[in-house]
């Protein structure tokens, strides 16, 4: 007999899994956000939020940028801005571009393989949703 998992625990596990998955992609997302040119911290946060639905707390992005810079993947430069105060801009180094490229390739290969694997799961979920919709319609009629 299949073991029953309490709904609350299952929901909690799903949230944790989603958070872990997002955390795992963070470095790739930060590097990718800088692909087209230099940005400062707040711009990177907004780019991640806009393009990848990765919404970080503001205190999270700066230590990550600092570590990536220490790894030689990014370089930074203070620039006097029109805003009236300087901004610290980050841009990819050669090593950063290589790392971003490699990560993007790995991500694409991985997600393509996984996509094939989970296709039957999604098909079954769609069929169940259709059946439920049809049943609801019949009940309403």
């Amino acid at each position: 007999m299949a073991k029953q998992i309490p709904v609350a625990i299952e929901a909690d596990s799903s949230e944790k899994w989603e958070a872990q998955m997002r955390k795992g992609c963070l470095e790739m997302a930060v590097l990718a956000s800088l692909w087209h040119g230099r940005l400062y911290g707040l711009e990177i946060l907004r780019a991640l939020e806009r393009d990848s639905q990765l919404i970080l707390s503001e205190g999270t992005i700066y230590p990550i940028l600092n570590r990536l810079r220490a790894e030689g993947l990014l370089q930074s430069q203070w620039v006097e801005a029109e805003a009236g105060h300087p901004r610290k801009y980050y841009e990819l180094t050669g090593a950063g571009r290589q790392r971003a490229t490699r990560m993007a390739e790995m991500w694409t290969e991985f997600s393509a393989g996984l996509g094939t694997l989970i296709e039957p799961v999604l098909k079954a979920a769609r069929k169940t949703a259709r059946d439920n919709g049809r049943l609801r319609k019949e009940l309403l009629l």
């Binding site: 872990q20 707390s57 805003a83």
Partner: protein
């Protein structure tokens, strides 16, 4: 407390909590956070308290910087002290870090112990050695009232004990360092990068390792 004094207070806390990082790097970090606050404060819809809450407690923010930089340095260092410090900091973040820290402690104790025995041999030549007997096979220094050697238990290496211990100790130190460097690189993506990541509509707090 005015907005300016709250910001200055936060930056002073951050500066204190970043002790251990070089002065230039520390000031660079504080300046960047200061400019972030000014940038966000320019948006009239946000007040200073919200901005500081978004950054999180100064100590926690500093901890993220320190951990990231320390693990980064340790990955390329051969200094057992630096690697141990990084492992200790990693140990505070989760089970894997705890295991890594104990690998570091045991590995360095074993390596250091053998090197110490090699150094003790010339000082206590009769009591230090590899003792072999019916129930014994010990690299050790024999102390106390026990007879140093008995017909059943005797030392077999003589002065070869020194180079043997030196080689075993060095190998243990090198192997521990290499293993820890490998683990730190292997689990690079698992180091505590994120204080929290907010999925769309879902707040998920948690330092834990990035696994």
């Amino acid at each position: 407390m005015t907005n300016d004094s709250r910001v200055n207070d936060y930056l002073a806390q951050l500066r204190r909590a970043l002790a251990g990082i070089t002065l230039a790097e520390r000031e660079d970090i504080v300046e960047e956070i200061h400019m972030h606050i000014r940038e966000r404060a320019g948006d009239s819809a946000v007040n200073v308290d919200e901005i500081l809450a978004g950054l999180g407690p100064a100590e926690e923010l500093a901890q993220q910087y320190r951990t990231g930089l320390l693990v980064q340095k340790a990955k390329h260092s051969i200094s057992p002290l630096l690697i141990l410090r990084a492992a200790l900091r990693w140990a505070r973040t989760g089970v894997e870090g705890f295991v890594v820290f104990w690998i570091a402690v045991v590995g360095y104790l074993v390596g250091g112990g053998f090197l110490l025995l090699a150094l003790l041999k010339p000082i206590f030549p009769q009591r230090t050695g590899l003792w072999v007997g019916p129930d014994a096979f010990e690299f050790t220094i024999r102390t106390g009232v026990l007879p140093v050697s008995t017909p059943a238990l005797h030392e077999v290496l003589g002065w070869w004990f020194m180079p043997v211990c030196a080689v075993i100790g060095s190998l243990a130190l090198i192997a521990t360092t290499k293993l820890l460097q490998f683990l730190m690189k292997r689990f690079r993506w698992r180091t505590p990068l994120a204080r929290e990541v907010v999925a769309t509509g879902t707040l998920t707090a948690g330092w834990g390792l990035l696994t």
